[in-house]
């Protein structure tokens, strides 16, 4: 027993008692289960395990703190009506926004933030982290941290563009089919069936082999592969909207299809489409990573998280964390995006009631 262990247990037990005393149910359950878990962990894993529990709890508390202050910050700087929305946002949404904001900043200002160029070789391969290199070096001796920063720009940019393009194509076609119906709807449905029946990885492999692997084709091919999924969603959401009386009113007025889609259907289909956007965004990441696994990805020396995971993946067998960093970056962003999406969904569905 040393002071750390005694202090640790004293702290958790004291905190749970306090929570119980003040009848804070959730807080009590949380703290008390933490206490129980720590007992088990302490017995199984000893002091080291307790340290990791402490660090983990600290991390969570830290991110909660960051999320809270970021949310408050947004409340202060945003105009009135948006600030009102923000104030009711859950902490997870605040966290999501913070992460997205951070990524956006690092992506946009990558050349200023990154200490080295994305292709610049500065040291030997896999050099460990030091005061110059926060995360050490990669397999060519390039600064990992700089590449992560640049990767935010390249990977997120590519995934974002591809997802946006997929949504433009899929949503337009889906809403058009929903509002037109009939033969065209059927035809589009069949085309979508065909595209979706071909496994996406194989389809992209074929397409990319045919048209070559530059960023533009990559974006277009990914968009083509994901557009059918968006189409299906847009078609069904649009299908629910077109039966509304206001659509009938607009049709009877003699409005054209394009007006119907743009003014009447689209504004009422955004919520599920946005939710889908969050998920598709993740899947695009994964497809890009999978493609670079098969050797078709972003051109080097451009830093791309998917390829970075791939390039360093074998290291994981030796317990090195290098490949975890870009993978973590991907995971963190997708989690963040989905937090925000969840919040938006809650908000829009809440308005309806």
């Amino acid at each position: 027993m040393n002071y750390f262990i005694i202090g640790f247990y004293a702290l958790v037990i004291g905190a749970s008692s306090l929570a119980a005393f003040y009848q804070k149910r959730t807080a009590f359950i949380l703290l008390f289960s933490l206490t129980l878990v720590s007992f088990v962990m302490g017995i199984v894993g000893g002091e080291a395990m307790l340290w990791s529990v402490t660090i983990l709890a600290g991390l969570i508390a830290f991110s909660a703190g960051v999320s809270y202050s970021f949310r408050e910050f947004l409340v202060i700087i945003l105009p009135n009506d948006m600030a009102k929305e923000m104030r009711t946002a859950p902490l997870t949404a605040g966290f999501g926004l913070f992460v997205i904001f951070t990524y956006a900043i690092s992506g946009i200002f990558a050349p200023i933030i990154a200490p080295y160029g994305e292709a610049e070789v500065i040291t030997s391969a896999f050099a460990p982290a030091d005061e110059n290199m926060l995360l050490g070096a990669d397999q060519l001796g390039r600064d990992m941290f700089s590449r992560i920063i640049y990767g935010a720009r390249n990977t997120v940019g590519l995934a974002l563009l591809a997802t946006i393009l997929a949504f433009l194509m899929g949503a337009t076609a889906g809403l058009y089919a929903a509002s037109k119906g009939g033969k065209l709807d059927q035809l589009l449905g069949r085309i979508v069936d065909v595209i979706m029946s071909i496994p996406s990885l194989i389809f992209s492999l074929l397409l990319l082999s045919i048209f070559g692997t530059n960023t533009t084709t990559l974006i277009i091919v990914i968009a083509i592969i994901y557009a059918p999924r968006v189409y299906r969603l847009a078609r069904s959401v649009g299908g629910n909207v077109v039966v509304m009386d206001y659509i009938e009113a607009a049709k009877l007025r003699g409005e054209g299809t394009w007006y119907l889609i743009r003014k009447e259907i689209l504004p009422n289909s955004t919520a599920p489409l946005i939710a889908e956007f969050g998920l598709e965004f993740c899947f695009v990441f994964l497809l890009v990573a999978g493609l670079s696994f098969l050797g078709l990805g972003i051109q080097p020396p451009t830093a791309d998280w998917g390829s970075m995971v791939r390039e360093n993946a074998t290291l994981i067998s030796f317990g090195e964390i290098t490949p975890l960093i870009p993978a973590g970056a991907i995971a963190l962003l997708t989690v963040a995006v989905n937090f925000v999406v969840d919040w938006m969904l809650d908000r829009t569905s809440g308005l309806k009631e």
Binding site: R190, L286, I316
Partner: protein, 318 residues
């Protein structure tokens, strides 16, 4: 029931047309690929001489549409041709591998589907609690990690560090079922992690979606306990979207596992397909793609039939 059968018949007909269209697309996509099979087979060792000889031998000197029609003709009679590279019948090359793929997919599905639905119900029950939030983060993380990466991490912890399971999932026909299950546990687990999240989130969403319905409120006002409200009153009405997502994920388990096969060296059909694309081995590519497409179509059909069967309005017409 007659309705269902006619729906199935109609959908199967459409499915066949879809397959035909896919076969045309695949054929011409393979045609469009830079280089041809002769170059791919001979690789760096190709010379004009032996290229021409090989092309003549494989009949590549004939016009593409003619070759497609030839293939289609024999495919319609059930003969999918021989692999252009190994010269063995395609059915032979694909047979056992597809069996292996199905085995792994079934293995993963048997774990993943019940787990996903159980967890989905659980998080719907404890919605907005800490448990829900944690499950949310964990599943999002597992969705957003590349599957080969998940595979490597599992290998590290469950094979290299602890030696609990074998890292190489090579299976033979003469293994016992238990051996096979043990050998393929890690790839199955990887796939489970990949698909569970999606299905679980959909289960949760469909259940929560229904919680505002008047009959759920009615059940609450009847004094039905919370878990029973979810299991008895919500879940039976939430099947349709859940079944659809399950079907989509089952299709993925069969068609989307190339990377898992590579990581765990599992002799499934995905690796065969990638190899065949590389070698421009058209009959094999075609057969694999058609199998995948047919799987997808059948699973979708099954999902639709499932949604009909779980809908009392359609199951018990007036």
């Amino acid at each position: 029931m007659g309705d269902i059968i006619s729906i199935i018949a109609k959908r199967l007909g459409l499915g066949l047309i879809t397959l035909l269209v896919i076969s045309i697309i695949i054929f011409f996509a393979v045609e469009l690929l830079p280089g041809d099979i002769a170059q791919a087979v001979l690789g760096q060792g190709a010379t004009e001489d032996n290229l021409a000889a090989l092309r003549a031998e494989l009949g590549l000197d004939r016009a593409a549409p003619l070759r497609y029609l030839d293939w289609l003709g024999s495919a319609l009679t059930g003969d999918f041709g021989n692999s252009l590279v190994s010269k063995t019948p395609v059915a032979e090359a694909i047979g056992t591998r597809f069996g292996n793929t199905l085995f792994l997919a079934t293995y993963a599905a048997v774990i993943a589907v019940p787990a996903a639905i159980f967890l989905g119900v659980l998080v719907a029950l404890f919605r907005n609690s800490v448990f829900d939030r944690v499950a949310n983060v964990v599943t999002l993380t597992s969705i957003s990690s590349p599957e080969f990466f998940l595979g490597y991490v599992l290998i590290l912890f469950l094979a290299v560090k602890t030696g609990l399971f074998p890292a190489i999932a090579k299976i033979d026909d003469d293994m016992t079922l238990f051996d096979k299950l043990n050998r393929t546990f890690l790839p199955a687990l990887t796939m489970v992690l990949v698909v569970v999240a999606h299905m679980m989130r959909m289960t949760r969403a469909s259940i929560i979606n229904l919680l505002a319905s008047p009959y759920v409120e009615m059940a609450r006002l009847k004094g039905v306990p919370a878990w029973k409200v979810i299991v008895k009153h919500t879940l039976p009405n939430a099947w349709a979207p859940v079944i659809n997502v399950v079907a989509l994920n089952l299709a993925y388990l069969i068609t989307g596992v190339v990377l898992v096969e590579v990581v765990f060296v599992y002799p499934g059909i995905g690796q065969l397909l990638v190899d065949a694309v590389t070698k421009r081995d058209f009959p094999v590519v075609q057969a694999c793609c058609l199998i995948f497409a047919a799987t997808f179509i059948l699973l979708n059909l099954a999902a639709d039939v499932g949604s009909i069967l779980t809908n009392p309005r359609l199951r018990h017409p007036k």
